[in-house]
Structure formats: C-alpha cells, structure tokens
C-alpha cells in the first residue's frame, strides 16, 4: 500500500532532518523527505533541493509539503509549479506539528484530502 508523502522544507538542514527523525521514530515507515538548508549546510531554502525531495517520494497517493519561515513558502511554491506534478500540495500548518499529524494519518492510509481536512480542523 502506498502512502501520502511528506516533504519538510526548512531553512536549516538540521531542523528538517530532525523533524524527519521524529516522524520516523514515532510513526515508522512512511515516505518523508527533508529539504533543509543550502549547499554546504548554510541557512536558507533552495527550490532545487525541494524539487529533488518531491521527486524522490512522490507517488499517485500524493505529496504534502510543509515549510517554515520567510522564503521557504516561495521556494516551495516555485518548486511545485516548475515540477508540474499532479497532487502535490503546500500545507500552511506548523511544520513540526502539522507534519506529525499528516504522518500519523498517512501511516494509516488516509488520502491527501482527508489529511488536509484534519490539518484545517486542527490548525485553523
């Protein structure tokens, strides 16, 4: 059974991979990709990294992209638009709490629509 994928866009490579660790520890095997920081570990967001992360885990079940501050949203939007994949969505919920909720729901086979309904309810 395939699961909805989760991409974590953060200014920090460590923050993105740290959140991925939490999700993997608590929820287990679901597709999660961290797209944090710039080349060389610098702080920032990079749309090519985000594109690569989406490409790595995207399936017909869909992908949800969470982001942190400032340019993260713009770079994530640009990555999604330029890839042009079906069923890739940006979520405005807090990156850690939102991705955690999404990971739990993805692990039990929920769809992108169902996960967004829960996110909207929890983080309105």
């Amino acid at each position: 059974m395939s699961h909805v994928g989760i991409v974590l866009v953060s200014h920090s490579e460590k923050a993105a991979s740290g959140i991925r660790e939490i999700l993997e520890q608590v929820v287990g095997e679901i597709p999660v990709e961290a797209a944090g920081g710039l080349e060389g570990g610098e702080i920032g967001t990079n749309y090519e990294r985000i594109q690569a992360a989406i490409q790595n885990i995207h399936s017909e079940k869909g992908t949800i992209v969470f982001y942190d501050i400032g340019s993260a949203q713009m770079n994530a939007e640009m990555a999604i638009e330029t890839l042009g994949f079906e069923n890739v969505h940006l979520a405005s919920a807090p990156i850690l709490e939102g991705a955690y909720l999404a990971a739990v729901e993805s692990s039990i086979g929920k769809s992108v629509e169902e996960i967004f309904a829960s996110l909207n309810k929890e983080f309105k």
Binding site: E42, I43, G44, T45, Y47, S71, M74, N75, M78
Partner: protein
C-alpha cells in the same frame, strides 16, 4: 534604441558590480529591519549569474534573462532568490521571439515582472518591498516613447527613498511594524542598483 543582447549582458555585469560594491550597505539595511542576509545573498547570486552568462553565446535577450533567472532562483537563497528569479523569468518570457526590443516592449516586460513579484510575494504597492521600486519604474517607462536614462534614474531613486517612511507588512520586517519606519527597504535598495545599472548600460545609446 533597441535593447540588444550586448545590453542584457552589460546590464547584469553592472548590477553585479554595484551589488558587490554595496554588499555591506545592503547587509546593514537588512540587519536593521530584516534578517541581515540580503547583501550576502545578492552578491552570491549575481556573481553566479555573471559566471553563468560569461561563458555562453546568446542569440536573444530572452535567453540571457532566462539563464539569469534560473541562476538567481537556485543560488540566492532567502526570499530574494524566488523574487529576483521570477522578475527575470517573467521578462524572459515577455520578450521571447521578439526581434527588436524597443522601450515599449521593455516596459511591458517590466510590467510582467511586476505582476510576477505581486503573485510570488503576495505583495501590493506600499508595503515597503522591492515592488515599490519596480512598479513605478514599469509605469513611468511605459509612459514615454524611448529609453530615458534620466527618467529611470530619477524614478528609481525617488521610489527607493520613499520606502523609508513606509511601514513594512511583508517579510521579516513586518514583525517590527512601526519600528520598520525610518529605514530604506533593502529589497528596494538592491532594486535601485538594478535600475541604476540599467541607466548606465543604455548611456550613449538613447
């Protein structure tokens, strides 16, 4: 005059020179009301853009702007990457296939860039951003028949300076609210250099 490939190459080289020369100033403006990375980000991005175009052979302006756009998007980091990347990408698309880029074509390309900034940054005029320089420039340039160096310089300077009294509602500066007043917006400042460079590179060809 028409805006040729040679102008496009000269333009980005001059932007880069100005950004490198004023890197410290952009950083201190950004330290005052932002996160302090504008100088570093812009100098890295435009240096990479210059490196990218210097080895290439271009048949049209659209191609130059496209390469600048993709380089800025991937190399700048921070919000300026997607925003400046969008600017050059929109301008590249606007002039694609156009044989002679006269001042009217150029100003319609600027208008495309302006709508790109609005869409990507979800920004409107008067919010103390780069848009407050780009929009007046696009408007003023569309009102005249030819490239007008003095008009470009005057409009860029006055609109950049006018951001000083605005209160930021976008980006990191928005958290400071009233405290953002009294500082020129760093994105407006770098945009001023972009247009000062444009004025320099059309000098003598008007």
């Amino acid at each position: 005059m028409n805006f040729e490939v040679s102008h496009a190459l000269d333009w980005v080289n001059r932007i880069n020179e100005k950004i490198q020369d004023n890197k410290g100033e952009l950083t201190s403006l950004d330290q005052a009301i932002g996160d302090g990375d504008h100088g570093i980000n812009m100098s890295r991005g435009f240096q990479e853009a210059v490196n990218k175009i210097s080895g290439e052979d271009y048949s049209d302006v659209s191609g130059v702007w496209k390469d600048i756009a993709t380089t800025l998007m991937s190399k700048v980091g921070g919000a300026s990457g997607p925003l400046y990347g969008t600017v050059f990408l929109k301008m590249s698309t606007a002039v694609k296939g156009v044989e002679n880029i006269d001042s009217q074509t150029f100003s319609s390309a600027l208008k495309e860039a302006v709508s790109g900034i609005k869409q990507r940054g979800k920004a409107e005029a008067g919010e103390k951003t780069m848009l407050d320089v780009w929009e007046p420039l696009a408007d003023k340039m569309s009102e005249v028949q030819d490239f007008d160096r003095q008009l470009i310089l005057d409009t860029a300077r006055s609109s950049m300076e006018s951001t000083k009294d605005l209160v930021a509602t976008k980006g990191r500066a928005a958290y400071l609210k009233e405290r953002s007043k009294g500082h020129i917006d760093p994105g407006a400042m770098s945009s001023y250099y972009v247009f000062e460079a444009l004025a320099d590179c059309i000098k003598g060809d008007e």
